[in-house]
């Protein structure tokens, strides 16, 4: 469903701040794979997702989604294949617009937008039912401005918006990191439920190693722009946080002690 071949990206090439963010990534996700991505700060996790989404152009390599080479497509042109949820709950929704307007914008992801009404009567009738699945009581607040919702509510809404029209690949960039533990657990549970029900091919970055082990059918660890550990199925289920820390320690060496990974 998603295939990356020799994908490279260097930021600020030829300057003192040059940073090789991705050093030749090869990664292939089968249909329905739910892959969790872990790694320290600066390992290239977010860059990986941004490359897939087309936020920056790749330096070299090929990205294919559902068999189509998207390496040189712009971010908006790739949107029809991708559902995305960002770390910052403010980034995924338009705060000055109503809940139903946000959903209507998401329902048209990747489609050409013309002069038909921005929200159809059918959608207006259908959205409350979809919102009810979030179990947050939002279905009665269709004309509430999204800016008035809490971070957790906004992130749950963004998740619903990202999966509204079945994306080929769902990209989750630490989407629960900015939420309090209880809300984070709720959004994560919702994520697992939606991915499972809809059989979505998913890449999820997380800093929580327990979540990384518990969720999904495959786990990759990144370090310094490379995938250093890739484990799936039975072997993944048997992993412990201690195993991961050890793996990570071996790869990272001295930097290990300073890293946020420890806190996971």
């Amino acid at each position: 469903m998603l295939k990356l071949s020799r994908v490279r990206k260097t930021f600020n090439k030829g300057t003192v701040t040059e940073k090789q963010a991705l050093r030749g990534i090869d990664l292939e996700l089968a249909d329905g794979d739910f892959v969790t991505v872990i790694g320290g700060n600066g390992a290239g996790k977010s860059t990986l997702l941004n490359m897939i989404a087309g936020v920056y152009p790749v330096d070299s390599g090929v990205i294919e989604i559902a068999g189509k080479d998207v390496s040189r497509l712009s971010e908006p042109a790739r949107a029809k294949y991708l559902g995305r949820v960002f770390q910052d709950p403010m980034r995924g929704t338009a705060s000055d617009m109503w809940i139903e307007e946000n959903l209507a914008l998401a329902a048209r992801r990747g489609k050409s937008r013309g002069l038909a009404w921005g929200i159809s009567a059918k959608e207006r009738a259908e959205f409350p039912r979809l919102l009810a699945t979030l179990d947050l009581g939002l279905e009665t607040r269709m004309r509430t401005k999204v800016g008035l919702l809490s971070g957790g509510q906004r992130q749950a809404l963004t998740l619903l918006m990202a999966t509204l029209t079945d994306p080929r690949v769902l990209l989750l960039d630490e989407h629960t990191a900015a939420l309090d533990p209880k809300t984070a657990a709720k959004v994560l549970e919702l994520t697992a439920q939606i991915v499972e029900e809809r059989h979505l091919t998913t890449l999820m970055i997380t800093h929580n190693m327990n979540d990384a082990i518990r969720l999904g059918n495959r786990l990759i660890m990144m370090h310094d722009g490379q995938v250093i550990f890739d484990v799936a199925g039975e072997e993944k289920r048997a992993l412990t946080v201690a195993d991961l820390l050890q793996k990570f320690g071996r790869a990272a060496g001295d930097e290990f002690a300073n890293d946020r990974m420890l806190l996971g």
Partner: protein, 308 residues
């Protein structure tokens, strides 16, 4: 005095169409688009030259003024999106180049259209009403039509995407909208309204002048701000909707020109009017900031718990 006030109302309504254009960029896209100073004068110049120089139908001249404004807006949009020039600077570049272009269009610094028919004189002849009354009614009808058209447009898929572009660009890009396109559309639409307004003003005052657009952006912002303040005086259920906010902007424009007429009657130098406009806008932008800071300071209690 009454005559001056009546003139101010008709002027305010027609300038109100320009204010609608400024509203699109300033309130929806969060860009202060300085193109309007140039595109307003461009609309006026194109209109005057077509009527006087080419004997064009005054209505055709108005439509041409609108199209000319649209092109000017598209140029700013192009500079801003394709070449990533900051919006303010892109607007300034277009505005400055329009000064020279407007002089080229007219071949001189002003064009009177005293001897020619205008849409207002034509309607005045048809209806028997005085031209100033016709200008007010005509302006009102066009303003209402434009508000209705904008209300419709911003409810469409494209219009919603445009509003979302101003609200959260990351989000709407992730949803597959090319924000370069939506920004160019917004700037084009905005300056089309500005050009239309410039053309109408030229026909109502019977001359176009190279300096007629100077400070138009400030007038636009002042009108929006005045409209917002007035809207707060009414119950929220009347002023919450999009059409109501657009209407408030046009009303703000009328009130601006009434204030202007009154202070001019009171003996203020016309050249000081731009200073007054700037002060109105600056004050309106300062007050919420200062008020918020005051509120934060005032709510501090040393004990950490408020008594109330």
């Amino acid at each position: 005095m009454l005559l001056a006030l009546q003139g101010a109302v008709s002027q305010g309504v027609i300038w109100g169409i320009m204010v609608l254009g400024v509203y699109i960029t300033f309130k929806l896209l969060d860009i202060a688009d300085l193109t309007v100073d140039g595109s307003f004068a461009l609309g006026g110049c194109v209109c005057a030259v077509l009527v006087v120089g080419y004997g064009a139908d005054p209505l055709v001249a108005i439509i041409a003024a609108m199209l000319a404004g649209a092109v000017a807006g598209a140029v700013t949009g192009f500079l801003h999106t394709v070449f990533e020039i900051p919006a303010i600077l892109a607007g300034i570049l277009t505005q400055i180049s329009l000064w020279s272009i407007n002089l080229r269009v007219m071949g001189k610094s002003n064009t009177p259209i005293l001897a020619n028919e205008t849409i207002f004189s034509r309607l005045s002849d048809l209806s028997g009403l005085p031209q100033s009354t016709v200008a007010t009614i005509c302006g009102l009808v066009i303003a209402v039509l434009m508000i209705a058209a904008l209300y419709w447009f911003f409810g469409t898929e494209l219009g919603s995407a445009l509003r979302a572009t101003g609200d959260n660009e990351d989000m709407i890009r992730a949803l597959g909208v090319n924000t370069k396109v939506t920004k160019v559309v917004a700037l084009t639409l905005s300056n089309a309204l500005v050009g239309l307004s410039g053309g109408l003003i030229t026909e109502s005052q019977k001359y176009a002048d190279i300096g007629m657009g100077t400070g138009a952006i400030v007038i636009g912002l002042a009108a929006i701000v005045i409209g917002e303040v007035l809207a707060r005086l009414l119950p929220a259920r009347f002023t919450a909707g999009f059409a109501a906010r657009l209407t408030a902007a046009v009303v703000g424009s009328v009130v601006y020109f009434l204030i202007r007429a009154i202070v001019l009657q009171m003996g203020m130098d016309a050249n000081d009017m731009k200073l007054l406009s700037a002060i109105i806008v600056a004050l309106a932008l300062c007050v919420p900031v200062v008020w918020e800071k005051y509120r934060l300071r005032a709510s501090y209690t040393r004990g950490g718990e408020a008594d109330a």
